[in-house]
């Protein structure tokens, strides 16, 4: 029996769902291996029971809490995908302000029509079974996790820092190029795609378990960043891990 799969979206850019649709070559095999029964962005039909529910996006409204609890009831395995779902992601930047101020800044006098709550990862709302990090998720990692689930394995979660993959990939260290990077403390598994792609690691996959935050801060400070700069750098994706990096 092919497992029934649902893909759901909440507060996000839906780029991680697009990454699933971007598996163009693998699509015939994916469709053959999975019984996709819900995927609003790509299909009209909607099933009511899921062996696996992939969730894209953070939770930022009361109504989303209700929907997430509904999904949890109907799903055997719940897997948040992407930085918004796993960490809250960029959505949490607004949490620095009172919610009524946030609403007023966007909607002015019409603010009372709308509602929002501080953004949070899916794990803060319902129990989760695994997660696929990244902004966006890496296609190959998504396929690997699906393969492991099909083989009834607990999927592998990388815990080496981006820095290790970056060195192995032969990149020139961005610190040597006069820039700064969160690679030493960020969870790898992306093959250091941002450094390879000409930029720096922004920390979208979250912190590794037991990161050496003290050393990372020292490196950033010696590269000329103030505490304010360092905070801005960490909180682009990692507001919800503030307790670890502050």
């Amino acid at each position: 029996m092919r497992p029934k799969v649902g893909v759901f979206d909440f507060t996000c850019c839906q780029g991680c769902e697009l990454q699933i649709l971007n598996c163009e070559e693998e699509m015939p095999d994916l469709i053959a291996a999975l019984d996709i029964v819900a995927f609003r962005e790509a299909m009209t039909e909607r099933g009511n029971y899921y062996d696996i529910a992939f969730i894209d996006g953070a939770c930022s409204r009361e109504s989303e809490i209700v929907s997430l609890k509904e999904i949890r009831k109907k799903a055997k395995i719940v897997i948040p995908i992407g930085a918004c779902a796993c960490l809250g992601g960029v959505n949490c930047l607004k949490n620095a302000y009172p919610m009524d101020e946030v609403l007023k800044a966007e909607y002015g006098e019409a603010a009372s029509y709308y509602d929002t709550i501080p953004a949070r990862p899916i794990s803060a709302v319902i129990p989760i079974d695994f997660y696929i990090p990244g902004c966006p998720i890496v296609k190959e990692e998504f396929i690997r996790v699906v393969q492991e689930l099909l083989a009834a394995k607990v999927p592998y979660q990388p815990n080496d820092p981006v820095c290790a993959e970056c060195k192995a990939g032969g990149n020139v260290c961005v610190f040597d190029k006069g820039m700064t990077c969160l690679g030493p403390v960020t969870r790898g598994g992306c093959k250091a795609t941002c450094v390879t792609g000409g930029a720096v690691c922004w920390g979208c996959r979250g912190l590794i378990d037991e990161p050496n935050i003290h050393a990372e801060k020292e490196i950033l400070e010696s590269a000329g960043l103030s505490m304010e700069d360092i905070t801005k750098r960490f909180n682009l994706f990692n507001v919800c891990q503030e307790g670890v990096w502050k």
Binding site: C13, G15, M43, V90, G198, A199
Partner: protein, 421 residues
């Protein structure tokens, strides 16, 4: 006719969350409502205090499908604020990156979101059995768009290479040659796309409205130019607040917009209506074959406008690569001098006119930001189109009318999480 009571919660096969309500009783329309329920993310608030080198990284996350557009609008806003003029090579590479995004985004809509309606299916997944060749053709073209963004930008969603005043990494000569080959090889698939959509029967519906897009004297405008309206002619980019006139409606978390009429349209059809003569030859030929010529007031023809633009962009991609290869890729010094000031960036995202307006403080952090999104500018027109479409089709039964209304909304290729940002 009896009662019609259509309530579609979370319309499917489009980006973002929108609801549709149609109520008709004894031949009288009681309610037609296009409602946006997407959760707002408050990007203008998130941007407060962001340093200049992070701004495009953050706003890219407004949209997974048109992340390149958001990056470029933002980079242009920052460059305008700092008085930076990027090199010709940077502009060419940005145009090439754009070719990738337009192809990927248009093909995603045409094959994955729109096509199932014309073939009586619920998704592209179920079409894999009945129309495998068409689905695989779409998948190949979509992959081509992504491949271009990977080569030029680093990856397809939220590319990393674009930066203020340049690229953090350049494609190699060999990469560009391979890309050129892939674009050439795609021409038969593009011809199949024309044939495929020529075979689909688009609902007959027309409603006069205003079309707004960028325009540029030397090119079919995507990443630069000034504003042009089919009603009022030219306007400069900094006049955008008087063009968009954004306003809130209680049933929509996304703002609506209007110019001289009750609503206006942006996107592929608006660009074709304003800039048709600047299309490349194969694109023009396809337009003729598909019966598309300006001025066209038929919203369902936006699908066809996307087919035509996809071909235009493939031709454009080949031309750009030839120009880059002729000049030879050069490593350029990326210099940025920060200063206080305001800058406005304007591009044509696949779904239409996109504007980012940033004000920077002295240290190069954002003090104030405003983003005008394409789909916001289409919401009011979708509402008025739906009202008229329903009134012209009161003889249809509920299922037929529901499908027709859904197809109309999809024809706009809405990007709702973008519009709510």
């Amino acid at each position: 006719m009896s009662k019609i009571d259509i309530k579609v919660n979370q319309l499917t096969r489009m980006e973002g969350h929108g609801n549709l309500t149609v109520k008709v009783s004894n031949g009288e329309i009681e309610e037609v409502r296009w409602e946006i329920t997407e959760s707002p993310r408050f990007f203008e608030v998130m941007l407060r205090g962001r340093p200049w080198h992070d701004a495009h990284v953050l706003v890219s996350r407004i949209c997974g499908i048109c992340s390149v557009s958001h990056q470029l609008a933002s980079l242009q806003a920052t460059e305008a604020a700092f008085g930076i003029e990027p090199s010709e090579q940077t502009i060419l590479l940005r145009k090439l990156l754009y070719v990738g995004e337009v192809i990927e985004s248009h093909i995603l809509h045409l094959y994955f979101m729109a096509m199932p309606d014309f073939l009586g299916a619920g998704s592209v997944f179920s079409l894999m059995k009945s129309h495998k060749d068409a689905v695989l053709c779409g998948a190949r073209l979509k992959k081509l768009g992504n491949y271009i963004m990977e080569i030029v930008g680093g990856r397809a969603v939220h590319p990393q290479a674009p930066t203020v005043n340049g690229f953090g990494r350049l494609p190699s000569h060999r990469d560009l040659l391979c890309l050129r080959g892939s674009l050439k090889e795609a021409l038969p698939d593009l011809e199949s796309t024309v044939a495929l959509f020529k075979g689909f029967e688009l609902p007959e519906f027309s409603r006069e409205t205003e079309y707004i897009s960028l325009t540029h004297p030397e090119e079919y405008a995507f990443i630069r130019g000034s504003i042009r309206s089919t009603d009022t002619g030219g306007a400069s980019i900094d006049q955008y607040p008087q063009i968009a006139n954004e306003y809130c409606v209680p049933h929509s978390t996304a703002k609506f917009a209007k110019h001289v009429r009750g609503s206006y349209v942006v996107g592929a059809l608006a660009r074709i209506n304003n800039n048709f003569e600047q299309l490349h030859p194969l694109a023009k030929k396809a337009a003729t074959e598909l019966g598309l010529k300006p001025i066209c007031f038929k919203p369902f023809m936006n699908n066809i406008a996307q087919v035509v633009e996809t071909i235009h962009e493939a031709e454009e991609g080949i031309d750009i690569i030839d120009e880059l290869l002729r000049a030879g890729m050069r490593e350029e010094q990326i210099s940025v001098t920060v200063r206080a000031g305001r800058g406005i960036g304007a591009v044509e995202a696949p779904r239409g006119l996109l504007i980012h307006d940033f004000t920077y403080g002295e240290k190069g952090s954002i003090v104030k930001a405003n983003c005008i999104i394409p789909t916001n500018q289409n919401h009011a027109n979708i509402q008025y189109d739906l009202e008229e479409l329903v009134s012209c089709n009161l003889d249809k039964n509920e299922d037929e009318l529901r499908l027709l209304c859904e197809m109309l909304v999809r024809a706009y290729d809405p990007c709702i999480s973008c519009s709510t940002h």
